[in-house]
């Protein structure tokens, strides 16, 4: 059994990577046969590895690499893949910016349900054909005609106001004065 505490130093020694501690390792190897065998096997495996990788790479392999690189560099700019990649990225960014702007724009406000009337309507002339509802951020919207037409009867008015935040919807319930 080799000595675990010597393993790292023997591995470095086998590759010639120990300077100061080399003598110490060699002393240990002389007295520890298991580590001696381990060191010998390490050196053999290193030799084997270096021998296997010493074989020359065929010249044609280099030529292929050079030719491919030069061909890619000499290619006109409109035939290079990165141009298309850049175009796609720019399009995606532009679309993203467009979507962001759209989503940050205040949502149309004051969607008033049919057959309802806002209290504001009391102040507008009877012949006024449409009704405006004060909404946050001065966003206004026309109220359907039938909402105004029903102003003469006493009834409950329900106004639904949608804000820019989809989680916030304001309901405004008003009972109007009028004929029974």
């Amino acid at each position: 059994m080799r000595c675990a505490e010597w393993e790292e130093r023997i591995a470095l020694w086998a590759g010639g990577d120990l300077a100061e501690e080399a003598a110490e390792v060699e002393r240990h190897l002389r007295v520890c046969p298991a580590c001696g065998v381990f060191a010998e096997e390490l050196r053999e495996s290193l030799e084997m590895m270096r021998g296997a990788h010493a074989a020359e790479i065929p010249a044609a392999a280099y030529t292929v690499v050079r030719a491919c690189v030069l061909e890619r560099l000499a290619r006109p700019w409109w035939k290079r893949a990165w141009v298309y990649a850049a175009a796609v990225i720019i399009l995606i960014i532009a679309a993203g910016i467009g979507l962001t702007r759209r989503s940050t724009r205040p949502a149309p406000m004051a969607a008033v349900h049919a057959n309802v009337r806002s209290p504001v309507s009391a102040e507008v002339p009877p012949d006024y054909r449409s009704l405006t509802v004060a909404a946050p951020k001065s966003v206004q919207r026309r109220v359907p005609k039938q909402a105004y037409r029903s102003h003469r009867k006493k009834e409950t008015v329900l106004v639904k106001i949608e804000t820019g935040n989809p989680d916030v919807v304001i309901y405004w319930i008003v009972e109007t004065k009028g004929e029974e």
Binding site: E8, A11, G15, D17, E41, M48, A52, L73
Partner: protein
């Protein structure tokens, strides 16, 4: 080599480098020729496959071309090339699963039995390198196969010398243990 000859070589190198920076592809080809062995051999040892090594080499040289102006003229490009080769090979290995060794380097050995033995040995070595973690494999390849000094390996891998020494020793032990098991099982 005489001082005069060395100076002439250095001047040629600077000229090629300068011309390549200005977009001269013939000059860049000369730059590639000078460094192609370093790049392709390292890539082959890291990927274990000639086709992948060639792809990696192409990418390394394209990056070199794009970074010619950033590299200092006085600076030796080898450390930069080693670093980029290691990074490109890592990326490639992540994208493509490891395949078997395709390069037929034993074809010129006449004796079929010897050829088979050589092939077996190479296969075992390839497997032993492939089972190493990426960093250990890179450290081992640069130190033991490319013959770089430990501090050069550390610079190429962006690690400390102590880390590289630890990686090298671990990798050597793992390769030895793998080969021992491999040949004992077959022997």
């Amino acid at each position: 080599m005489s001082t005069l000859a060395f100076t002439a070589m250095a001047t040629d190198r600077d000229l090629a480098w300068e011309s390549a920076k200005r977009g001269d592809l013939a000059a860049f080809e000369a730059v590639m020729r000078r460094h192609e062995r370093l790049v392709l051999a390292t890539a082959l040892r890291l990927t274990g496959n000639l086709a992948d090594a060639q792809d990696a080499s192409q990418e390394v040289f394209l990056r070199l071309y794009r970074n010619l102006s950033r590299l200092k003229e006085s600076e030796e490009p080898a450390p930069w090339l080693y670093r980029v080769t290691v990074n490109v090979c890592h990326d490639l290995r992540r994208k493509r699963p490891a395949e078997g060794e395709k390069i037929d380097r034993a074809a010129d050995e006449a004796d079929p039995q010897q050829r088979a033995m050589e092939e077996e040995r190479r296969r075992a070595l390839e497997l032993s390198l492939r089972m190493l973690p990426e960093k250990e494999r890179a450290a081992l390849v640069l130190r033991d196969l490319e013959g770089l000094a430990t501090d050069e390996v550390a610079r190429a891998l962006g690690s400390s010398e102590a880390t590289v020494r630890s990686q090298i020793s671990k990798a050597r032990v793992k390769v030895r243990d793998f080969l021992e098991r491999y040949f004992r099982r077959r022997g």
